[in-house]
């Protein structure tokens, strides 16, 4: 009788809203639980997601982009897409939202120990990767891994998210960061080219390495081809999936891919696992 209602979100206050893209279609929401005791019940690891409630609009699954090594604040980078995310974009600092979770599996932290890490992100796909990147770059964890290579791209400079974070990573000597945009753009002096092409050019070694990728399906498709050419085995490639969800806890039914529920067995899968699943995602 005493088990908590898993559908009851914790109240959290939006402390800060950071516009990420020039068009304003992505914003990062920094939120804090109203009751600090909620942290005890919300211990998360990189790769997990939460169900965010904007009452009146509904609930949507959003990946957690903050790292658990950060102070007690949660960050969600949200692209304005549907009813809930649009309502969230209309919210102002101080507003109360509901947060349920954390849900889903995590990036395979044990398997990443002692390995070189290659992060490949596109657009808003950097959001879930950022949680892991900041986790492995945290003072107590950086020594657990070899090289950290980050390749990130977006359509245009204005579509790059976490520019403030990219600047921070850029200054670190223990991070190799490559930021690219699809086409030449006035005022952009950085790299130009699609993410898979940049990956091929950077050509990180697959030896003792794991590639972690998230981005639009078309980018993933070509990134996988390049990674295979670079010698990455399917078990060395990790990605994270999205699916329409309601409950987040394996009951409402809709997020299955074959016998796997993205909400329970995912959202993180290796390419090896994906190859064994029906291509219905």
């Amino acid at each position: 009788m005493s088990s908590p209602n898993p559908y009851l979100p914790f109240p959290a206050v939006i402390e800060e809203i950071i516009p990420e893209t020039d068009s304003g279609d992505v914003k990062t929401f920094r939120v804090r639980f109203q009751d600090a005791a909620c942290w005890e019940r919300f211990r998360y690891l990189p790769g997990q997601f939460a169900e965010l409630s904007v009452f009146g609009a509904g609930e949507a699954p959003i990946s957690i982009t903050s790292s658990p090594t950060q102070e007690e604040i949660l960050e969600f980078a949200v692209k304005r897409m549907g009813r809930v995310t649009t309502a969230l974009h209309h919210a102002e600092p101080g507003a109360v939202i509901g947060v349920r979770g954390p849900y889903g599996n995590t990036f395979p932290l044990a398997e990443l120990r002692g390995r070189h890490l290659v992060f490949i992100g596109g657009g808003i796909g950097l959001a879930p990767l950022r949680s892991l990147i900041n986790y492995v770059l945290a003072p107590g964890h950086r020594g657990d891994h070899g090289d950290v290579v980050i390749i990130y791209g977006a359509r245009s400079p204005g579509d790059l998210v976490f520019k403030w974070e990219l600047d921070r990573w850029q200054t670190r000597e223990d991070v190799q960061l490559y930021v690219t945009v699809d086409r030449e753009h006035e005022g952009w002096h950085g790299r130009v080219g699609f993410v898979p092409a940049v990956l091929e050019e950077v050509a990180p070694s697959s030896r003792n390495a794991v590639a972690i990728t998230c981005g639009p399906p078309i980018m993933i498709k070509f990134v996988l081809q390049v990674l295979e050419r670079l010698g990455f085995a399917p078990s060395q490639i990790v990605t994270t999936l999205e699916m329409r969800m309601k409950c987040g806890i394996g009951k409402c039914g809709r997020c299955n891919i074959g016998d796997k529920y993205v909400c329970r067995d995912g959202p993180v899968f290796t390419y090896e696992q994906l190859k064994a699943m029906p291509a219905e995602y």
């Binding site: 088990s3 009452f55 949507a60 039914g253 809709r254």
Partner: protein, 307 residues
Amino acid sequence: MVPWSAEDGLDLEGYRNTLLPPKEIFFPRWEPMLRYSGWGRNLRWEEVRAPSAGRPAVLFGVRPCDARSLTVLDAVFQDDHPDPYYLQRRRAVVVVVLACTTPGRSCFCADVGGGPADERGADVMAAELEGEIRMWPVTDKGAQLLAETGWEPDPGGRELLEQHMQRTPTPAHGVPAGRYPEALEGRFEDPVWDRLHLPCLGCASCTYLCPTCHCFDVADETSDGGGLRVRGWDSCMFALYTLHASGHNPRPSVKERFRNRFMHKLSYFPKRYGLLACVGCGRCVEHCPVNVDVREVMKELVSDVQS
């Protein structure tokens, strides 16, 4: 399933099964979950329960197939994140199962591991034998009900039912049993789905009538100054069920949705929970407007494996 009082009397003549399965007693087709009020900084919400939740009741005359479907629903709603709405109703309701002494024309429980005298999911087992209702307890909850109502437990009933069953035709249609999920291994890409789905209209009658289907949608229904977060039955046969906000749909046509429904019942669910998500009640067979027959689908899939 309708409310009953003693004055109504009890006439079981010609009773085969209810049109709707008993799942809605435990998992209503529409149910409030949370209530919210206020706005912005002053938003509040709390858990709510429908007035009917947790109200003690006895379900009488549940058929063995439907009782077994409750064990399927239990697996979903009882796992790592117990569902308090379902479980509250489940605890408050005693299930009296009426054995099927005359099987219906679309019944195939025996094909899917059940039977007309199956006691799984029952709290009390009942059978109409030689013009008399015999009842015996299956669970402690059932024993308590019989004790409270002063009904003498009737262990002899079980034996009498077994004897009767030996003289009764088995509700089976030759669907190979006990071969799931193995029989569907590797069948996802099979061309058979290109043909099998063709008559399906995607109307979802099958899923609404199915005693094991449990998919739901969650929505906020706002009225003046507040609203309710509610859940309602949903169906994998609808395109909106899997439609992403981006417009992408992983199961864009009837073929993928049709395949998912059968694969889920016969392969995905058994892999996950060790239970077939079909209890052979035959409702989808009876009520499909275009005569899609789950038994034929199963035969097709399994006979192909044998050939």
